[in-house]
């Protein structure tokens, strides 16, 4: 980009080839873009035409009896059950809203010690996964459906053969966060003296982190990072906010520190990465560095800190002869200074699967005295336990044929690994290959025995994400299909007396969790625990063993080797496998809600894209949407190009999780080339007992053709409009255009309480998009598919606009959640001929679906473009009776030709009002919208704007507060708080613009 950027004007994109040209900066002009697939409108219409066929009513067999005694439940009245989210190993607390025995909405559990009430996009979408029509419905042997008895018999006999043959029995599982499940699996393995190998695909909390602490502290553990105490956060290529092992908890603590900025001083967040991550987007300062450079920076930081800290001498010596830092020298020195200034209040994290770097980071935290403050080793994270070398060992022994039986639990190594074909072949040859999963994954296809597992919401379980945090999950519904809890299967196979997993779970709790409790007490304790979803009060932590400080020998050795590593060569192209906020490691890639969720950074949905730096794109001669083939080693992927600002020129970021073979008929996805060509895991490299996902030497070439890249935002410039603001300090006032108070052509209207108002703190908002999916789940918002998204017919009531500020090579990123602003003088209302959109007494801009005739006049007249029109009969596309169970009965499903929009979750407001009136309460403003409830960062406050006190009032009074397009006099009911970029080196005291 040759364009000169100032430090104020927001912009949105480079001149993407998918955007129409215009004069917002007069240097544009020329041909309009390729409107891909427009010609296919007939085809598309055909799809929807066939979809017009009404689906038959739900068979009775899907009506689910209640798990709780019927007298507790009134039909049609929602019951809330506490549980734990199983969408990923993070095990966030959740509360399920259950109507007539079926969960219809998942919320975060406010009582949860870690997630603190937030629930991420993937967690929200887990509901859709429960009602996924393509789940495995019954166990099968060699592709034939069987009963569980038959399956168990078959497995047992095979196991005995294997044991007789003296071959290994191995369970390959994603990290078992559940202690009871762990015990069940281990006791099974004990019976066959087998081994458990835990492995989690995708980036985040890599093996090297645990190896580093094994060297340092004698235990292969991942410390618990607490960002809420970190005045200074330095992240090297790590994405804890977006796609780390526990994004919700980390976001909660990170945002907690930012929200406390007024009292504790502005925190600082420095991100050093090669590819723009969500965490990087939220950093105060961002450096671009390749993986090799990052390692060098980590080591250099360490050596500088070591020099200036007592006890660091050995380390400093080991790091002699570090390669020169080059351009980073001065910045690294300054950063080292900052870290030292914030001894005990800083936090350094790294996402690299590189021992040297992780060791350096660990030592940094130790030397800076962050351990015990922001880095907790006594109660570490139990979310990732696997070591890559164990996986490597498994693969070799599989190849050598030592393994007789392999149980793959909740994983899809065939798709989610480097050499799937080899593994597939090996699985085929195994005497006993068992896939325990809820999806027809490639691994399931390769295994002879497929034990169809429950969805997490159908099964019992307990979870221990970190010592002392023990949560439970209970079935929210009777199993939809003839599936079985994964761990119950193990109980069956290990031949223990209690094969009922629930009883097994209770038994373990009786012994371990409530030792010495009398039977009666236990019953009470257990019920309480199930009801609250977690055990009240702290659990005795396994005595925090004083960690051995680690013999200097191996540490310095490892450091020395790392220091001697070849210095980074500059313009070598490297591939970095990244996880996207919506798909993470791809285990939920089949959920339309997640596929349709536009990535907060690329703003693309449905279709994967390689993120390429502007300069690199120019060198390669590719435009947005051009297909590009990236080769690393002998593997390659082909995807569309997305030119991303803030991308390192020599780093190509490729999202994992796409191209799964079991992505069966995802509404209208067409992403040439073949799906398999999009499986980025193929690029990963198992080297030296470590699975490398970044810093992979790669080459790229345009492969011709274009990929449909449905972008939500195609415009590059904001034409200097004051639609979003960022400030330098928490005291700085936003200088947006404001309409003088009380300027009202029509005179005041009565404002009876409550008058709903929402405040969104852009400084806390990370753009994680949990709110978008929460809104979709709460309000039955249709998924329309890639083609419609490409036509800009997205149905999201709540979208997150993404803006850049500054230099195109490394800009600041701003997120602005945009929803109906419930204008006091709503332009949409006046123009509706049939009064289908009118104003309520509590200040809502209501939409009366059954009165709407669909003139679209209101949407045209909406300055915020937050109204969504049903171009087709979207709801009718949801034909599978199982999938229809996901619809929230509290919200009407909109038909074709009707306008829809956000109404601040009016169904919730009404419910709370009715409840309040029943109880004769006057004040009933204590209600949360779906987006607000899901937000891990607590960035959204909502309430009655007549109240002078309270969170909402406090937010609106802040100097950073502004309203979008307030100068139009439409009196929006949403207030935004500008994002703060803390540029000054020293935190704590506030200064002027950096």
């Amino acid at each position: 980009m040759t364009r000169e950027r100032d430090t104020k004007t927001p912009w949105m994109d480079l001149d993407t080839s998918l955007a129409p040209r215009g004069p917002e900066r007069s240097d544009e002009g020329g041909a309009t873009p390729a409107f891909f697939a427009r010609r296919d409108f007939l085809k598309l219409a055909g799809i929807s035409a066939t979809a017009l066929a009404a689906c038959e009513r739900l068979p009775v067999r899907h009506a689910i009896p209640l798990l709780v005694p019927a007298e507790d439940v009134t039909p049609g009245v929602a019951v809330h059950y506490a549980g734990t989210c199983t969408a990923c190993p993070a095990a966030c607390g959740l509360v399920a809203t259950v109507r007539d025995g079926r969960p219809v909405k998942l919320e975060g559990h406010k009582g949860h010690a870690l997630s603190q009430g937030g629930l991420c996009a993937v967690g929200q979408a887990d509901l859709r996964a429960l009602y996924d029509g393509h789940r495995l419905q019954r166990p099968s042997l060699g592709g034939k459906d069987v009963t569980w008895a038959e399956l168990d018999a078959a497995v047992k006999t095979k196991l005995d053969e294997v044991q007789a043959a003296g071959k290994k029995v191995v369970v390959l599982s994603s990290t078992l966060v559940s202690p009871s499940a762990r015990q069940a699996v281990l006791s099974f393995l004990a019976a066959y003296n087998g081994t458990l190998i835990e492995h989690d695909p995708g980036p985040g909390a890599p093996s090297a982190l645990r190896e580093a602490y094994q060297i340092l502290s004698g235990r292969a553990l991942a410390p618990w990072f607490d960002a809420s105490k970190a005045d200074l956060l330095v992240s090297l290529g790590d994405d804890p906010l977006g796609t780390g092992p526990d994004p919700v908890a980390f976001t909660a603590s990170w945002a907690a520190r930012r929200r406390a900025a007024e009292s504790q001083g502005a925190p600082r967040h420095v991100q050093i990465e090669g590819s723009l991550s969500l965490t990087g987007a939220n950093a105060d300062e961002r450096w671009l560095a390749t993986s090799a450079e990052r390692r060098l920076i980590a080591l250099s930081l360490l050596s500088q800190v070591a020099h200036r800290s007592q006890g660091g001498q050995a380390v400093a010596d080991a790091l002699k002869g570090l390669a020169p830092l080059g351009e980073f020298a001065s910045r690294v020195e300054a950063l080292a200074g900052e870290l030292l200034k914030h001894r005990g209040h800083g936090l350094v994290v790294s996402g690299a699967n590189d021992l040297g770097e992780q060791l350096a980071v660990a030592l940094l935290n130790r030397l800076l005295g962050n351990e015990g403050k922001t880095v907790d080793l006594t109660r570490p994270s139990l979310l990732r336990r696997g070591l890559d070398r164990e996986l490597a060992g498994l693969l070799t022994s599989l190849a050598s044929g030592d393994v007789g039986a392999l149980f793959v639990l909740g994983l899809d190594p065939v798709e989610q690994g480097p050499d799937g074909e080899a593994l597939k072949a090996a699985l085929g040859k195994l005497p006993l290959a068992v896939a325990i999963t809820d999806r027809p994954t490639a691994t399931a296809a390769a295994c002879r025995v497929v034990a169809a597992a429950h969805h997490g919401l159908e099964s019992w379980g307990d979870f221990e994400p970190r010592p002392g945090v023990l949560t439970l999950s209970q079935p929210m519904t009777r199993p939809l299909f003839a599936t079985r809890s994964a761990f119950e299967s193990f109980l069956h196979w290990s031949g223990v007396p209690t094969t009922d997993y629930r009883l097994y779970l209770m038994e373990r709790w009786r012994k371990d969790v409530f030792p010495g409790a009398q039977a009666a007490d236990f019953g009470a304790l257990w019920t309480a625990a199930v009801a609250s979803g977690s055990v009240s009060g702290a659990v005795a932590v396994a005595a925090a063993s004083a960690l051995p400080s680690g013999s200097a020998g191996p540490v310095t050795e490892a450091l020395a080797t790392a220091a001697r590593a070849t210095p980074p060569s500059h313009d070598a192209l490297e591939a970095e496998l990244i996880a996207e906020v919506a798909l993470r490691d791809g285990r939920r890639a089949h959920i339309p809600w997640l596929r349709e969720l536009p990535d907060p950074l690329t703003r693309a949905s449905w279709v994967p894209c390689v993120r390429v730096a502007p300069k690199r794109a120019a060198k390669l001669g590719v435009k947005d949407g051009d297909l590009i083939t990236v080769e690393a080693g002998k593997a390659s992927v082909t995807m569309g190009v997305r030119i991303m600002p803030g991308q390192h020129e020599s780093v190509l970021a490729i999202p994992v999780g796409y191209g799964r073979t079991d992505e069966v008929k995802l509404a209208g996805v067409e992403a040439p080339p073949s799906a398999s060509a999009q499986n980025a895991y193929r690029l990963a490299k198992l080297e030296g007992g470590r699975l490398l996902l970044s810093g992979l030497p790669a080459s790229a070439r345009p492969s011709g053709g274009r990929s449909p890249l449905p972008l939500m935002q195609v415009q590059s410039e904001t034409a200097g409009r004051p639609v979003i603001h960022q400030v330098a300090s928490y005291q700085e006032k936003v200088h947006g255009e404001h309409l003088p108070e009380g300027r009202d052509l029509f005179g005041p209207k009565p404002q009876p309480s409550p008058q709903w108002h929402m405040a969104i703190d852009l400084d806390a908002c990370t753009g994680c998009s949990a709110c978008v999916v929460a809104c979709q789940a709460e309000n039955n918002i249709a998924s329309v598919g890639a083609e419609e998204m490409g036509r800009h017919r997205d149905m999201h009531w709540l979208r997150i606009d993404r803006y850049y500020v500054g230099d195109a090579d490394n800009p600041d990123v701003l997120f602005e959640p945009m929803l109906c602003q419930q204008c006091g003088h709503a332009p949409c209302e006046t123009v509706c001929p049939v009064a289908a959109t009118v104003h309520s007494t509590d200040g809502l801009n209501q939409q009366v679906y059954n009165r709407c005739v669909g003139t679209r006049y209101c949407a045209n007249n909406c300055p915020y473009k937050t109204r969504r029109f049903n171009w087709f009969n979207n709801e009718k596309k949801l034909t599978d009776p199982v999938e229809r169970l996901v619809l929230n009965p509290d919200v009407v499903v909109r038909s074709r030709g009707v306008m829809e929009k956000c109404t601040f979750c009016v169904q919730r407001l009404q419910a709370s009002r009715i409840a309040a009136q029943k109880e004769g309460r006057q004040e009933w403003a204590s209600v949360e919208t779906a987006c607000q409830e899901s937000c891990p960062a607590r960035a959204i406050s909502f309430g009655d704007q007549n109240q002078a006190e309270g969170a909402l009032a406090a937010q609106r009074k802040k100097p950073r507060a502004f309203q979008v397009l307030a100068e139009l006099g439409v009196e929006p009911r949403v207030t935004y708080l500008a994002r703060v970029r803390n540029r000054q080196g020293a935190t704590g005291h506030h200064g002027e613009e950096a």
Binding site: M12, P20, R21, G22, P23, E24, S26, T32, F35, R38, F41, L42, L44, A45, S48, A49, Q713, V714, Q715, E717, A719, G720, R721, V723, E788, R791, H792, R793, D801, M818, T830, V831, C832, P833, V834, A835, R851, V853, G854, T855, R856, Y857, N860, N861, P863, Y864, K865, R867, R868, F869, N870, W871, F872, S895, R896, G897, V898, L965, L968, V970
Partner: protein, 459 residues
Amino acid sequence: MSAIGHSLSASQPLILGDPGYGAIAHDVAGSLEGRPGTAWWAAFLVAASALGVGVVAIGYTIAVGIGTWGLNRTVGWGFDITNFVFWVGIGHAGTLISAILLLLRQRWRTSIARAAEAMTIFAVMCAALFPFIHMGRPWLAFWMGPYPNTRGSLWVNFRSPLVWDVFAISTYFTVSLLFWYLGMVPDFGTLRDRTRGLKQRIYGWLSLGWDGSARTWQRYEKACLLMAGLATPLVVSVHTIVSFDFATSVIPGWHTTIFPPYFVAGAVFSGFAMVITLLMVTRKVMHIEYLITDKHLEQMAKVLLTTGMLVGFAYTTELFTAWYSGNMYERFTFMNRAMGPYAWAYWLMFCCNVFVPQVFWSKRLRHSAAVLFVGSLLVNVGMWFERFNIVVTSLHRDYLPSSWSHYVPTLTEVGILVGSFGLFFTCFLLFVRVAPVVAFHEVKHTLAQQREEARHAAA
């Protein structure tokens, strides 16, 4: 304009030669009484098949949904409302000629008024089609009307310009129809007395038993004058109200106070262009060049020139106010019109509407049939794109650049546009077959006055 009329009628006759009273009715009615020629059949087949295309496209839209069009979350209106405003505009010339020129005593109007009025009726029919089919749920269109219902207190929103449209368009259609029919009653009488058998019965029925008695004529002329007096403000109000659809909104490029006069001028402009196009064909086909003379066409060319410069003035005023307002959104919108993705449409509009009519300064070109015909066609193209610019270019880039988008019509929309032209010409062709395309009694009246003038001139 009145001055033009007088100087003209003084300078040279509106009716060439003196065919005599009988010949007028004979020539015009003759074509009705005879069989249609091949030219008519050819034209009719083309028009009817175009109409067929439209019927299919509309059926498809209603069956599948508005999604079959190129619209999106940002651009909610495209071809649909563009066509609507375009046709309403066309529908203005008829009433203007028959009403306003009647009040202005423009006698040159007599030969062309009837055809122009017919054009109005059919154009308004085409226009009225679009508000219906552009709805997401057209089967509920009747909700747009305030009718007592059992849904409790439930009425329409009289604050909405779309409701104003409903009343304006329907009133305009009804009054135009009445006016048109009123004008034809005496001529139906004539036809009744010229024909025999079934035709005579039908015309007799249509003529409401017209007798040319002096008393009837007296009331009749008074009624015509009153209707003209009603239709004149009506015709102005209709396009004013149509312009309110945009003017009352908040969208930059729509929210403009000059829209009412701007729209009315544009309507007259496009309407006259369409009248020229039609009459040049009609008079050829029906061999009544001596009734619809070059003078008539020249008069209308002059109107084109005038109104063309009016709209040109409006365009430049828009640009000026946008700049002068200092409002960044206004400024951008007009920058975007002239330089954005739809700049081609903007400049096409500008050329066709502002530059093309300038050729009519030259008397020679005003008299050249080819120039006049092509010119009138171009003006209509330009006026269609004017509406396209207003509707689409303002919408696709409004306030929040994050949701800016683009609009490309689909085949379905194009099919519907074609269909609307099909409907228009089918109706017109049928009209020239069954009704007096020239108002005999008025033309005879004009001839009488012409003779009188001639006699005065001689004396």
